[in-house]
């Protein structure tokens, strides 16, 4: 059957450029089988939040199993961490998609069984869901002295005030990427995406938040105070353009390949991807629409099934050291979650600190908004509305 696609194969196949959220439909199949098997049992979930065991003061040791997105890491970083701490890291790039990861791991997590990872990197909304279900351990400050380096706006975010359960890893902008040579003009607004000249050459995100956020903003809606009506209105617009044949694909991270190959000329895109693609194709541009775009934050979390809480905290703390973090940013090209990174980035390459997509100017930051934390019911409702448009 077509449905048997090996997940490891898919990671290997991830083209020779960095893609953060490569969503490959095929990889989801195995998860579908698991989800199906899961249906028979009733998943009683704990509601109380877990807290980590008390710190006994001994140094972290042993093995740490990290589950991260494909190619979201710098060369030599893991080795340097191992050398610095003596902790052995089993680093896996098996986090391909938030919902897919959740579908696969929710059964073992609900029974408090090991999921093969001591630390994972879900996006904010997923971290928040895991926390609500009571499946995350608190990240103890005793092992996280570099927490002070976190950007103040992220430290006091509504989703996790004081950052007790989730440590931001990377943040980025969701905007529009376009091939200037193929469009022949600059793209500035959402309406520019619907230019008949680009018919069948436009791609949009399948993810409801990333896909609909900027459309809602262009229609006078808000992602900080989302309403079902605003979601529906944005989804209706997508449906209208889809039915016209304007939208060629609904994508995850895979828009990057089509954009580079010229099959897509205007795409909803993540900032870091575009910075990397520009190295091969200088014609590619990234823009936050005039009416605004959204931001995302991926966070490191410690599942309550972790077998090495202390090593996970050591890992987070190591990443929160500015010189270490600069090496990561130099590789992933996303927006740093630590404050005052310009000096450290300039030490690696002066171009990094000056790149407006890594160090966005105030004018850009004023235009972007992060989604309000959604309730489970809202997430489900929005997913359902948008899934009906993206073709089920």
């Amino acid at each position: 059957m077509a449905n048997q696609i090996n997940q490891g194969l898919i990671s290997q196949f991830a083209i020779a450029r960095t893609t953060r959220r490569r969503f490959l439909g095929g990889s989801a199949a195995a998860a579908a089988a698991l989800a199906l098997a899961a249906c028979g049992s009733n998943g009683g979930s704990p509601t109380a939040s877990s807290s980590a065991p008390a710190d006994d003061g001994s140094p972290a040791s042993g093995t740490l199993r990290v589950s991260n997105w494909p190619l979201y890491m710098a060369d030599g970083f893991v080795a340097a961490f191992q050398k610095a701490t003596g902790i052995t890291v089993d680093y896996k790039e098996d986090f391909n998609d938030n919902e897919e990861w959740f579908a696969k791991n929710k059964e073992p997590l609900s029974r408090k069984q090991d999921i093969g990872a001591d630390l994972a990197v879900p996006t904010t909304f997923m971290a928040s869901r895991l926390h609500t279900l009571g499946w995350l351990n608190e990240i103890r400050e005793s092992g996280w002295s570099n927490k002070k380096n976190l950007r103040p706006d992220l430290l006091e975010a509504d989703v996790d005030p004081g950052r007790k359960f989730s440590a931001p890893y990377m943040s980025g902008l969701v905007g529009i990427a376009y091939n200037r040579a193929a469009t022949g003009r600059d793209i500035k607004t959402i309406d520019d995406m619907w230019d008949p000249k680009f018919k069948g050459k436009v791609s949009m995100f399948t993810d409801a938040q990333d896909g609909l956020g900027m459309l809602m903003m262009s229609q006078g809606g808000s992602v900080t105070q989302p309403t079902t009506e605003a979601i529906q209105k944005a989804a209706d617009l997508v449906k209208e353009q889809k039915d016209k044949g304007q939208i060629r694909k609904f994508t995850g991270n895979d828009y990057a390949d089509d954009l580079a190959a010229g099959n897509i000329v205007v795409a909803q895109a993540y900032s870091g991807d575009v910075v990397q693609l520009q190295a091969d194709n200088p014609d590619l541009q990234f823009v936050v629409p005039e009416s605004g775009g959204t931001t995302f934050v991926d966070t490191m979390v410690i599942p309550y099934t972790t077998q090495n809480q202390k090593a996970a905290e050591a890992w987070i703390n190591y990443i929160y050291d500015r010189p270490n973090y600069a090496k990561l940013i130099a590789h992933t090209q996303y927006v740093p979650v630590l404050s005052d990174m310009t000096d450290e980035l300039d030490k690696i390459d002066p171009k990094l600190g000056a790149n407006p997509l890594i160090n966005p100017p105030k004018a850009t930051l004023d235009k972007v908004k992060g989604w309000a934390p959604l309730t489970d019911e809202q997430t489900q409702q929005y997913n359902t509305i948008y899934a009906a448009v993206t073709g089920g």
Partner: protein
Amino acid sequence: MILPGLAYLAVFFVVPFYSLARTSLSSSGGSVFMPELTFAWDFGNYSQAFGLYQDQILRSFGYAFVATILCLLLAFPLAYVIAFKAGRYKNLLLGLVILPFFVTFLIRTLAWKTILADDGWVVDLLGSVGALPSEGRLLSTSWAVIGGLTYNWIIFMILPLYVSLEKIDPRLLEASRDLYSPNRRTFGKVILPLALPGVLAGSMLVFIPSVGDFINADYLGSTQTTMIGNVIQKQFLVVKDYPAAAALSLLLMALILVGVLLYTRALGTEDLV
């Protein structure tokens, strides 16, 4: 002797089937992301699933049907040549037929993405002779999806056809020629009837997986070519409406079963190869 087979069927068919059927008739409630499914004889899941996704169901059957016909048209001459005309190259040709399938399904499909790319030479060539589909491109059209299905499943047509044709006693063909039957008639009266089991087996092996396929529509298709497999995948993994997804899966199975029964009845054969 038959026990291991029965045990296999029980574990890998009956149990999952029971679970799927039960899910499809359940209603979900409780927490959104850890829903509790309650068995409720809820046949509404079926009518709702069909009502919402009949376009994708019909499209899947349409694509699979065209792909099966294309496979048959392409595979028959090939299998015929290998069975009757290849002589000592028979094994070599069979090897060449199987060779591409050593490469995994996913990679082969993605390779077509490169070949059919909008800026690729195939599109340029067809464009210069005015043979492009109305969309002005090849990738992300129905034809790319049908082409992908044909390409990916054709081996399951070639092999059964070859086996059926290879079994034909050459003396029957000689006898037919001795009786002054023209080639066309030999084909219609002797070869085709004897190859029917192969046609039947091949058609089913191509049609059934094609209907449920979602990889080809995902990579080679567009927003206008979504198949039912894509819908089921999304229902399971994104929307997490397990009863709807299970109902769609079972509906698809039932429709395929009816199709296959009608087809076997029409061809009037019960043997597969």
